[in-house]
Symmetry: none
Subunit: 222 residues, 4 copies
DNA sequence: AATGAATGAGGCTTCATTCAT
DNA sequence: GATGAATGAAGCCTCATTCAT
């Protein structure tokens, strides 16, 4: 029954989804929906909570606990991309619908996102500790990096899910989708983690022309 | 009058926003809204078009045309962050509401986003040409990087706008917000551009353990 | 519920009738009307179909099947006048409202009217065959006669229904109304059928002054 | 300006016609309409009065004053059919729209109709006096006959105007339309007047089987 | 445990009508 | 004399929600 709600909310949005439609899709009658979940608002909240928990669980389960930080991050990202690819409606509800429906709901999805950001933040800190980090990374800077990384991941998730239209077989084998997730995660790691590594040894990108030591520009390398 | 629509749509979403509310906020009567903008759909489209054009104009105006690619990107990002900070409702309408309201609207904002992604893609390509790029970056990979970068920027925009709650004065001086935008842009450049530089000289991040040359991990530096 | 719609549509017309009014008259709430009949248009169509069928049924039931043509016509007319007198709103919906509301509706009532006209046309033809009809009546002429007869009947129905204002008792006995219908039908038969009889033997009315044989004027009788 | 109102009311009906549309069709601005005709209701009344007067004038002008009664009736009918054919919107406003819009308007057109019915009633009476009328026609019976005749004429007007679709040239010559009107009038005279002539000499149609003297049936002629 | 039947409230849209210019 | 600009009122329709069974 909640499944039907997930699908309906994901496809139509909170306001446009009608309880009628959800009940019909679930194959039950409308009052039954009200018997278990007492209002549209509560139903949506339940949907958000369940899907958020599922997403966090998927990511958490994918992380290899005792690996180095970068490997942990990569595996977590792989889990994230695999989950969003396998459950597009779940991801759409969280990412597109819940965040846009004002306060009762945006808060819940923000909490979930904070959890993921916190996880990433921890990994960045761990990486800094793992390496004999010469640079001091301000907590605020780390938080910014984590947010950027999560945002990049979200953007890639959408991009990766929409694009493959000329797919080979109807339902690509799970192996394919797992591989695709891994590739997307690797792209992101390539993009982000390397730069973070330079950051940790004190390199900084700066806007200016003339620059001091540690100045790094794309085309100026030793 | 369109301003009122921007605010209302941004805060409540397309469906939840009522023409009554927009008219009241604009200080006019409901039929007047219909006299100028002929339906809720047209009104929302007009809002999207106006705000998308304004955002693109702000970014475009901020870019320093003849600077190196990284400097161009940074200045564009600065313009982006400055705009989203100065016009949060405009950004919310585009990023949160328009994208989630199905086809007539999602298409318009997707076009705008494609324009920005294209701009970033061009810069990455230019950077690759500026440097004596040893590595061949597949077009698809570049596109992925651009999407990731734009996504990271969007995420940072949200993060940067929400956070400063214990702010000092009511309206921080424009200098402050400009500086904040520059700092956020620099954070993103640090995060992304450096890594891209490594990428271009052929370094790759890989999930595995021991690997061949070009292998790069966070803790393995020269 | 449809009864209420009949009354409301008959008295106010399609456009001026409000679903609110119909619902109130029916003693139910507005959404209930939409639950069963899904729009104003469908409701009006349903009304037209039901009332048209009822009218045709009443006329058909009144006709004595195996009687001579004139007797059949008379009995049908009697049924018609009795029905319109007993159900003035039903008649008003069909005759006044449905015909004036453009295409979806005018068509349905036109079909019903065509059925009645066809019935009359058939009777005229039968009468021509019953009598050793010397004159050839062109099909087009017969159709004109039938239209004239039906139009006369419609006009008389309105006239007969409006007039009796100084009526004796509140609800005149059914016997009275039946008798009135019979009288009205006889008036129409007197008016029309006799002339048709002359027509069939070749008499023609002509506008001119002196004329050849077969010329018939009001004051020239054998 | 009133012309535009006639057209608009005729084509859309009273409720569906908008003052906006009338003003636009008339080429003037909406407040001007209100300056001269103070409300939609008054405008419609003015339309009805003008068109009703025009119709009566057309019929009156067509009647040949000193001719015999039947000739007068025929010429009046010819004028009627010619007018309705030449001014279908005018006729539609009177016959279809005004009668269906409840009391302020139905009354006005009823008055006009009463005038025509009265004219016909007078002619029937005159005919009765012209002929050495043996039969006494009750006033009520005469009124019924007049109503039947007018109704038949109205029905024929509609029928005659709608039908000629396979017409020869685009705008048939006036001569053609005049001739068509005369033919339609003759059809009606054939249908009605002859029967009335029999009526005046005491023949009656009766429903029964066995009948007394003066009994007339379609198939029983000398 | 489950539902057919019903409704209060609210949203989009239109239109007759006015007023300042 | 003529109009651009503006609005109060009302209508169609939908939906979240409840109750009697």
């Amino acid at each position: 029954m909640v499944d039907a709600a997930v699908i309906t909310f994901a496809r139509h949005g909170y306001r446009a989804a009608s309880i009628d439609g959800i009940a019909e899709l679930a194959g039950v009658s409308k009052p039954l929906v009200y018997l278990y979940l007492h209002s549209k608002e509560e139903l949506f909240s339940a949907v958000i909570r369940r899907e958020a928990a599922a997403l966090v669980a998927a990511v958490t389960a994918a992380v290899e606990p005792h690996a180095p930080a970068d490997r942990q991050l990569w595996s977590g990202l792989t889990g994230f991309f695999a989950y969003t690819a396998a459950h597009p409606d779940s991801w759409a509800v969280l990412h597109q619908q819940a965040r846009t429906q004002g306060e009762p709901f945006a808060h819940e999805v923000a909490a979930m996102r904070a959890e993921l950001v916190g996880f990433v933040t921890g990994l960045i800190g761990a990486a800094a500790r793992e390496s004999d980090c010469a640079a001091e990374l301000a907590a605020r800077e780390v938080a910014g990096l984590a947010h950027a990384l999560v945002g990049a991941a979200e953007s890639l998730a959408e991009w990766a899910n929409v694009r493959p239209e000329g797919g080979s077989s109807d339902k690509s084998a799970p192996a394919d989708s797992r591989e695709a997730a891994e590739r997307t995660a690797a792209t992101l790691m390539n993009f982000a983690w390397t730069g973070m590594g330079r950051l940790m040894v004190g390199e900084r990108w700066g806007p200016g022309g003339a620059e001091g030591p540690g100045r790094h520009q794309l085309d100026s390398r030793t």
